[in-house]
Symmetry: C2
Subunit: 343 residues, 2 copies
């Protein structure tokens, strides 16, 4: 473990580097911080810290730069930060405002987060599977295409196109719709997706067997469609990419990072993987993605109605203002969860 002086000096180097983006020398540390020792002593300590892998020297006669291990220590011993007054106000007024639909709100939240932190922001919406179904409706679009619209308790709406070669008519569609509604409303989408045809009461009206079998087929197709893409429905919202770009200097790096962010599924997995490891910050390669070696990811889950619902995160350079990012993410996750629980 690091003794107090080592820790203080490491802290000083890291925070200085985060500010200046330039290798930090012993002089800087000795004069401009609360470390009351001479530069020579600082040098000794820094040499030790380098030997232990916390710092790195780009070349002899340069200052020191934190390694991932250095950032990790810095982050781990960071106290619970507080957001500035104006930022707190910004968050408060954001969530006081009305934001039409849930998707709009989540998208706006990325803007809020990236405004607060000046980094890119990611918001993963609550999964649809756990929400309960409020309404199921079948609507005929064309001769052979039916749209199934599902309204969920959290205000999300899912739709699925169903193509079929059945002879569609209003009676058939209404019958199937009624059956689906009866079986699904009040249950979670996951439960509905787990249903099989026999689960759904066939107590239909006085229709012919042929008609009944058509209804069965349409109901079956609809269930298939509902099962189809549950993973995909986790909505991901990404914003503020322009902010983080300026933190890097190589266009190539930027391009790589953007390529990552364009793959939404990958981003969700990234967040969940980090959370799954019990982390709230992933530094550099800790993200598990080579292309993000120069990035750090600050994440937080949010809770809706007492259950973990989704996650938000901020992606910036490894030399990010961790305290600000951590508090911003924490506060926004908290508020977002509360706001979504209101309903």
């Amino acid at each position: 473990m690091l003794d107090e002086r080592k820790a203080t000096i490491l802290r000083a180097v890291v925070s200085e580097y985060i500010e200046s983006a330039q290798p930090v020398g012993s002089n800087h540390v000795a004069t401009s911080t609360e470390v009351n020792v001479s530069p020579a002593t600082v040098r000794n300590v820094m040499a030790a810290l380098e030997a232990e892998g916390y710092l790195h020297q780009p070349h002899t006669s340069a200052g020191r730069v934190p390694t991932e291990k250095g950032y990790r220590f810095f982050v781990d011993q960071l106290g619970p930060g507080r957001l500035g007054a104006s930022e707190t106000q910004q968050v408060r007024s954001f969530f006081a405002r009305t934001h039409g639909e849930i998707e709009q709100m989540l998208a706006d939240t990325t803007r809020l987060l990236s405004n607060l932190t000046r980094y890119a922001a990611v918001v993963v919406g609550p999964p649809h599977e756990v929400a309960t179904v409020r309404s199921v409706q079948l609507v005929q679009l064309t001769q052979r295409v039916v749209l199934c619209v599902v309204v969920l308790s959290n205000g999300a709406v899912e739709k699925h196109t169903i193509e079929t070669d059945l002879d569609l008519d209003d009676l058939l569609i209404n019958a199937a719709g009624t059956r689906l509604a009866g079986a699904a409303i009040g249950r979670s989408l996951a439960e509905v997706a787990a249903m099989t045809l026999p689960d759904i009461s066939t107590a239909g009206g006085p229709r012919s067997d042929a008609a009944r079998s058509d209804v069965d087929r349409l109901v079956g197709l609809t269930l298939d469609a509902l099962r189809g893409d549950h993973r995909h429905e986790d909505q991901v919202f990404i914003g503020g990419t322009s902010e983080m770009v300026s933190a890097f200097d190589a266009v190539g790096t930027v391009s790589e990072i953007l390529r990552i962010l364009e793959q939404q599924l990958l981003v969700v997995n990234l967040l969940e993987d980090v959370l799954g490891r019990g982390l709230s910050v992933a530094i550099g390669r800790e993200t598990g993605n080579e292309a993000l070696a120069d990035c750090s990811l600050v994440v937080a889950p949010y809770v809706v109605d007492g259950e973990a619902a989704g996650a938000i995160g901020v992606l910036g350079p490894t030399r990010m203002h961790y305290d600000q990012a951590l508090s911003a993410v924490a506060v926004v996750a908290n508020r977002l969860g509360r706001r979504l629980s209101e309903g």
Copy 2:
């Protein structure tokens, strides 16, 4: 007007610059193109072209670089290009594939376009206002919140939350829903939005006056919500930003461009403005946006069921492969329109 030789040389300079990204000298032009004149002559011509504003010299003793006017000439005299065989195949198989919902398909289309061109792609979906309503439904979410779900003929689904202080119950919601459905189904969303309360038949069931007035109020609120954001509902999809980034070398420029692309409304206006001016290519400042001075925008409208529906576009550096971009955009716009007309 430019005589044939001037035009040929200008063409040569522009296409050479597009390839190499470096100032083009007279030697290059004289040797590596079909211009069969001496470098000296080329120099004379180039000096003239510079005087006329088609070319620009970064400094004495450097080659020439096209100005916006130069690009403009180049683009205007470009013949109708053809897509390569493999690209054509790519487009064909893309549109043969099934893409769940319309939004998914439009989002995928940005990927197709940016794969084809290696630039950023924008797809503006068909406006909801012109589609006809297939279904209107009111669903109660919470004590005071109702969700209005509208299914449109093109498979799009709109939803609007309605907050009210009415005492909501199923009867009220059903009554209002039925009234709305009766009035809206079969009409375009624009027509519906133009309706006022009296337009909607009040031939309700045998309910009390008080109940009827509640229904009226709920219908009115719903109409307000439907009117609310018609502009905003034009869906914009943007993809492939990582591609275009590598075409620039200054991180600052990249950041500015991304900032633009993050403002979806601005992007729609950009496309529509360019199309409105009857252009299919906007070069540099022609885009009307100072931050895009180093970019060009290639756009094309697409037609669904015989009517202009939306637009697609590609954003790249001014030194873009205009022929490829133009053909890609044209082909994709055409196919997209056809695909969306199928229904």
